[in-house]
Each structure stands twice: as C-alpha cells, then as structure tokens.
Amino acid sequence: MQNPYIPMPVEIIKVVSEVDTNEIKTFRLAFVNKEDENNFQYLPGQFAELSIYGKGESPIGIASSPTEKGYLEFTVQRAGTAVPGLVTTALHDMTEGARLGIRGPLGNPWPIEFLEGKNIVVVGGGFAFTTLRSLVNYMLHEDNRKRFGNISVVYGARNPGLLCYKGELGSWCQRNDLNVCVTVDKGDAAWEGKEGFVPTICKDAAPSSENAVAVICGPPIMIKYTLPVFIGLGFSKENILTSLEMRMKCGIGKCGRCNVGSKYVCKDGPVFSMAELDRLPRDF
C-alpha cells in the first residue's frame, strides 16, 4: 500500500519567470522514478502537494496538461508579503537540476465527461489561470479537440506585466479553433490588446449560454462580479464551474482543515459547480 503522506522525488528541468515582478514562476518537473510517473495519472483541474524538506508542503494546481508527456508544470506565486511563505520562497530560489517532492494527483479534475460535446467558455484572472491553462491545452490537443464544441477563453490581469503564459497565449490567438480574448485592467505604452475588467469583457463578448459551460477561476473579487454576468447570460448554475482555494495540509481529506460543510475542498473539490456551492454552507 502506497503511503499517501510520502512524496515522490521530482527534478526541476525548467524554470520560467512568468511576470516582470518575478513573483510568479512556472516550474517544469520530471519524475525521478518512472513508476512514479506512471502512477501519477491526472486530469486538468487537479492539484498536488509540492514538498521541500526543511520547509514543508504547499498545495499547487497542476498547470500542465496530461497531454504533455514526460513532465508536470506548476505555476507558483511567491506567497506572503512582509513574511514570505516558506515553501514558495524556497521554490522560487530553486533552479534547474534541483530536486523536490510531490504528492498527488489530488482532488477532482474539471468534469471532462460533463464538458464533452458542450461549448466551453474559460474565464481566468491573474495567476489563478493555471488549471484553466491545463484544461485549454487538454481540450486543444488533437485527440480531444473534436470532443468539445466552441472554445472561447477570456483571460485578464491587472497589467500586461502580470499576464502568465504570454508565449502560449500568442500561439492560441493564431489558432482558428478557439477564440481568445486577453485583457488587462490597465495597459501600458507597449500594450495593444484589450483594456478592461474581466466581467465587463465577458458582458461585451456575451457568449451564448446555449449548450455552454463556463469555467471560471480568478481572484475572489473577479469571481464575485463575473458570476452575475453569466447568470445574466442565461447560464444555469450547474453550468458554471469554479475551483475553490482553502488552507490544506494532508490533501486527502483527513486533517480536517479545508472543509466547507461536509465537503473537503481537497478531496471533494477543488472543482465545484455554482449549484453545488449554493448547497454548501457559506464557510469559505
């Protein structure tokens, strides 16, 4: 029986600084042991506990797509301001070749079967875009693309410097099998793209709720204002999905920290539909 508390060794094979503040980096990790890699079967929306001995563990959403073979990617923000978070800070100091541990995959993925055959509206804000990126890349993969209807992506950040996955966004824009809308709250001299808050942009874009599912991740404030937009557009709460964040330790529903009512975000989440959240007590 595999001990769920013991991390598997992984090695950093690539580090990309996503934003000009260097506060957000994407780490590409490769398993040290093949069998671990085989055991690690995940889908977009799941997360894992990244472990650094001497510092601790930190739950991070998986930013890569299972369709990308041979590695995992995690986009990590250096947590804490005055008092930096131990794990994320240590991680940010790590470079190619360094090793750390990983436990997972944990939690439930975006409900792929449920999404199949539907039009997907992906809405993300800031660095909460990670598992959405995974989802988009998953859906765009040649084996999967046809399983889904129209795919549109709305992604926003406070300013151009804070947009993650810039290169990838570019390549998405080139494609004709999805429509991408990247926006920033406030542009700079070089910025030629859209300006405006995500909710507003969504309102203007007004995607049809016809056979459509909205998948939304972002800072609370963004969620708060985006939801009504989609409700207004006629999306049913079952068809609006999001991913919750809560303080976690074990990641397997034992330590009793991340529950919302009877549901553990780590085990029964992090993915929830608005309808499910409505049934849960307001405890998050």
Partner: protein
C-alpha cells in the same frame, strides 16, 4: 453562602439599572452553566437577560479578556473581582482598554472555590487580591485585615536546589498539550497572532516537542513579566493542571523588587518592561 446571594442580588439589580438607563450596551458577568458548580461567563444585553446573571463561589473565571472583543467607544459593564480589576488597570496602561468605555462592577470576593479541586482560592494560587483596586460600583463589603503574601508559596521552590527545580518544571511542562488554554484564558495574552503562531521565525516547534513547550512557556512568562496580575486563570484553565501561577508569581515578585512596581495597581503606571529609571542599577543583573 448568603454573602454570595447578596452580591448576586445586587449584581442583577445593578445590571438591570445600567441596561435600563441605556448606560451600557452589555454587562459581562456570569450565568448558569450545566449546573450550579459550573457557572459560565455570560453577556447580558437586555434587562431580561440580567435575570440570568449568577454569582457564587464558583465564578472564578477572570472575565476581563472578553473586553478585548468589545469595540472601543461602546460602553460595557463588567464584573471584576480583585485580580480582575488589576487586569483592567494593566490593560488601560497598555492602551488596550479605555476607562471611559468601562463600568466596573467590583466584587470583593473571598472564599472563591476552584471548580476542579474544590479548594478555596487564596494567596497560594493567586495574588490573593480581594478588594478591587478600581471600580465604579462596589457590590459587596470590602474585606480588610492582613492576608498572607502571595509569594509565600514560592518559598519551597526557592530553597529547592536548581536541579530539583529543573526536574520540577520538566515534570510540569512536559505534560503541556499545547491546547493554549493558558494563553487564551489570560486577559493579558491579547496578541493575535501569538508569537507561537509565527512562521518566521518559528520560535518553537509547532508540534508538541518538549523543547518547544519550554520555549513557549519561558517566552510567555517573559511576555507577562510585570504584566501578570496573578488571577490564576491560566493555571485553573489548564486541562493537565500545570501550576503556571508559580512562575508568574516569581517574576511578579522579581519585578516588584527590581523595578518597584506591581502590575495593574495604578492607571498612571507604565508597564515596567517598556520603561526604565535612571536609578536602575546593575544589581538586577546579579
């Protein structure tokens, strides 16, 4: 005990008046618990509530900590026994409470009984302060006449050899569960977050290691030096009965000797650890 019934009657009446006149928004006192031996802290917000107030020999819990939950500018009445009133004074010194927000219902409470042990609470386990040092209404007869020094109880430990004393504290502190009842029950432990909850630096292991517990308690003793008003709340709250009051008493005694000031006696005082006198000498380091 009729004396307590008397006090209880006065308390209820006083509370009613204050609430009726709208002088205070709430009265922090004691109410009935699951039985008479176990009264609970209770907040009366209406005249009707006031009827639920209780005062008897088991109303030992120092309520002053609850004042921290009251927003400034709203007048609150609270029951204070001797030590409790000192807590109020100390917290006023530390600008944590404002005198004008408080109506103090003083109770000169002697013959209080420890709920767990059934023993009378005296200068052994507390400062033995019976009469409130500060109050607006006195709900009972002040008691005078000499009481034994609260530091008497330290003698055995002081004469004890250092190794035995170390063993003594080992035995006591090693039982610590880190439930933090001591700090949560202490009216002076208002820090949020407590140094123990800091991640940078991690002053002590979060897990209940022996060394971590020692670090926690020694540092807490330090933080309370010259501030502890010896109400005994910490020790009575401890589920494993660690006699923390002994250490607090010792430091209280040292502070009095070295800095010539006892905690929570006068509003004008400045807490001794954030103060100094030009007359301070190196004697204290001997």
């Amino acid at each position: 005990m009729t004396a307590f019934k008397e006090i209880e009657k006065k308390l209820i009446q006083q509370a009613k008046e204050l609430l009726e006149r709208g002088e205070v928004a709430q009265v922090i006192a004691y109410g009935r618990g699951y039985d008479d031996q176990h009264p609970m802290p209770y907040v009366a917000k209406t005249v009707a509530d006031a009827d639920n107030l209780v005062f008897n020999e088991f109303c030992t819990f120092n309520l002053v900590g609850y004042l921290m939950r009251c927003p400034p500018g709203i007048k609150v009445a609270i029951v204070v026994k001797g030590a409790d009133s000192r807590a109020v004074v100390q917290l006023i010194q530390e600008a944590k409470l404002r005198r004008e927000d408080l109506v103090l219902l003083g109770i000169p409470a002697s013959g209080m009984v420890d709920q767990k042990t059934g023993k009378i609470i005296d200068a052994q386990t507390t400062g033995g302060q019976i009469n409130p040092v500060l109050c607006d209404y006195l709900l009972g007869e002040e008691k005078y006449g000499r009481t034994e020094s609260p530091y008497q109880v330290l003698k055995p430990l002081e004469v004890m050899g250092k190794d035995d004393r170390w063993q003594f504290w080992q035995n006591e502190l090693s039982r610590c569960l880190r439930c933090f009842a001591c700090r949560k029950a202490c009216p002076m432990c208002y820090c949020d977050p407590c140094f123990m909850d800091q991640s940078r630096p991690r002053w002590a292991d979060k897990s209940p290691t022996a060394e971590g517990s020692i670090m926690y308690h020694l540092t807490r003793f330090y933080h309370l030096a010259g501030r502890c008003i010896d109400c005994g709340n910490c020790s009575r709250s401890c589920p494993v009965d660690i006699p923390l009051y002994l250490f607090h008493k010792k430091l209280a005694q040292d502070c009095e000797e070295m800095f010539g000031q006892a905690a929570g006696m006068r509003i004008e005082d400045k807490p001794v650890m954030v103060d100094f006198r030009v007359e301070d000498t190196d004697e204290m380091l001997k």
